[in-house]
Structures are given as structure tokens and as C-alpha cells.
Symmetry: C2
Subunit: 118 residues, 2 copies
DNA sequence: TGTCTATGTTGACGGATGTCGATGCAGCGT
DNA sequence: ACGCTGCATCGACATCCGTCAACATAGACA
């Protein structure tokens, strides 16, 4: 009767990354984009910053809340910028402070990379 | 009656990484070990190699099966070594060929990193 | 306006990393 | 023994990356 394809509306949104690694071989383009996100989390300082934001009450944290990671303030700013550029965090200035939060659906998207494939 | 601790036997095995990033702030040591695994997957060539092994029939692949990733053979070998050192792959020589497979429970362990925390 | 605080940017430095050609080594076949 | 194939290692090179001090910028407040 009809195709097996569901309605094209209300798509779960752009999935910028992370096809299951075990499902099939990644193409060069997929690997490029997915690796960029892993690379952003591949530094201990950045991973601690990301974890601090992700686990912070209310889902957001200002820089002053999370900058106690053992490096200088410029370095913290540099790493937060990398996490932003990788699409993992978003930032918003409210008055004196800048608040960071985990970009929507990033956790779920990356979890799918490790889902069983076959 | 008894402590709430379960039997120490039959532990699900060493969990070398990956407490949920959203659950709490990672310690420096946790971040170091977890970031090392993300870092290993943070290169497009390595990610394609990992995906090729993980998605290969039988759960294992010899180097000749997966070395068509656009770089020279020494580079492939170099990246596979990095993946081994990160604990993501294991290798075994059988006759002429060396077979790689995903290290046990690595996929599940890394998936937990992106599990919802609170 | 001026000053203080919070955060981002710049420039520079040293070390890590990805890449390759050349070479080494292990197994297989002749 | 010899050569051939699959894979690892070595040495060298260029580039990337994490880090910091110095400086710049943006709000808040007086």
C-alpha cells in the first residue's frame, strides 16, 4: 500500500554525528565529523570542563563555577571555545557572567555511536 | 543483617573508564583515563579503522581487510598500535595475518559515559 | 567617566602527533 | 635456501596543540 517510510515531518532533528561504529564502516566524511567530537573530548581538561557543565545543577554553569581545573584562565577559555566549536557546548552571556550548557541531544547522539550494530 | 554490598565475587570486571559525564564532575584521574580513549577515537583514520573492525563479520578483521583508508601501510600500523595502546582493540597473529577485534566491553563502557546522570 | 570583575583574544613557545620512505621481521610457498 | 607477502618498527619531517603572560573587551557599579 504505502512505503515503509514514516512521515518526513517531525524528524528527530539533524543528526550531526555518530552512526553506530559497529553497524558498518564509517565513510570518510562521517569519520571526519564524528572524530572531531571525540577529539574535543580527548583532552583531560576539556573532558573535566564538559563533565562539570553536564553535571551542573540546572544544566548550565558559568565559567567561574568550573574553572578550577588546574590551568590558567586563558587556557580554560581556550578549551571552552574548542568545545563550542565542536558543537558540544553552547554559551550565553547574561550580565557579567557567561553560562555554558551541553548542546541539545549531544549526549544521546554520541551514545548511539557505541550502540550494538549487528 | 548484612551490609548492602553485594558479593565481591563475579564483579562485572574492571571498569577502566567512563563514569557518566553528566552524573558528577570527573576527577583528574578519571578524566585522564577516559580522555585517552576519546583521544584515540579522535582521529578520522583511527575512527574508520575502529569502525571497520567493529563492524566486520565475525567481530574481527585482519589488517589487509581494513587498510584501505587512504594512508600508507606504516601509517595504518601506527594507528592500530595507538588503538591497541588505548585498550580499544586487541590483536592476534594467526599464520600470515594479524587479526584485530574490539576489546571486550569497550563499547558498553564508553556508552555509559553518555548515559543521563541526574 | 572611571574602576573593578569576568571572560575572550593574541602571540609565542615547547612538546605531541600524523605522515611517509626505508628497513626489519615472521610465515608461507617454491 | 630463496623469494614473496603481510605487518611492525625506525627515523625524519611538518604540522598541530596545550599552555601561559599580556592585553583586550564587556558589564556592573559608583
Amino acid at each position: 500500500m504505502s512505503t515503509t517510510k514514516a512521515l518526513p515531518l517531525l524528524e528527530p532533528e539533524v543528526a550531526p554525528c555518530c552512526p553506530p561504529l559497529s553497524e558498518r564502516r564509517l565513510t570518510a566524511e562521517e569519520a571526519e565529523r564524528t572524530a572531531a567530537m571525540f577529539k574535543a573530548l580527548g583532552d583531560p581538561v576539556r573532558l573535566r570542563l564538559f563533565s562539570a557543565v553536564a553535571s551542573h545543577e540546572g544544566g548550565e554553569a558559568c565559567v567561574c563555577d568550573i574553572s578550577d581545573v588546574g590551568v590558567s584562565q586563558p587556557t580554560v577559555s581556550h578549551h571552552l571555545k574548542k568545545l563550542r566549536e565542536a558543537g558540544l557546548l553552547t554559551s550565553e552571556r547574561r550580565g557579567t557572567w557567561v553560562y555554558y550548557r551541553v548542546a541539545p541531544s549531544v549526549l544521546a547522539a554520541m551514545a548511539t555511536a557505541f550502540a550494538p550494530g549487528s
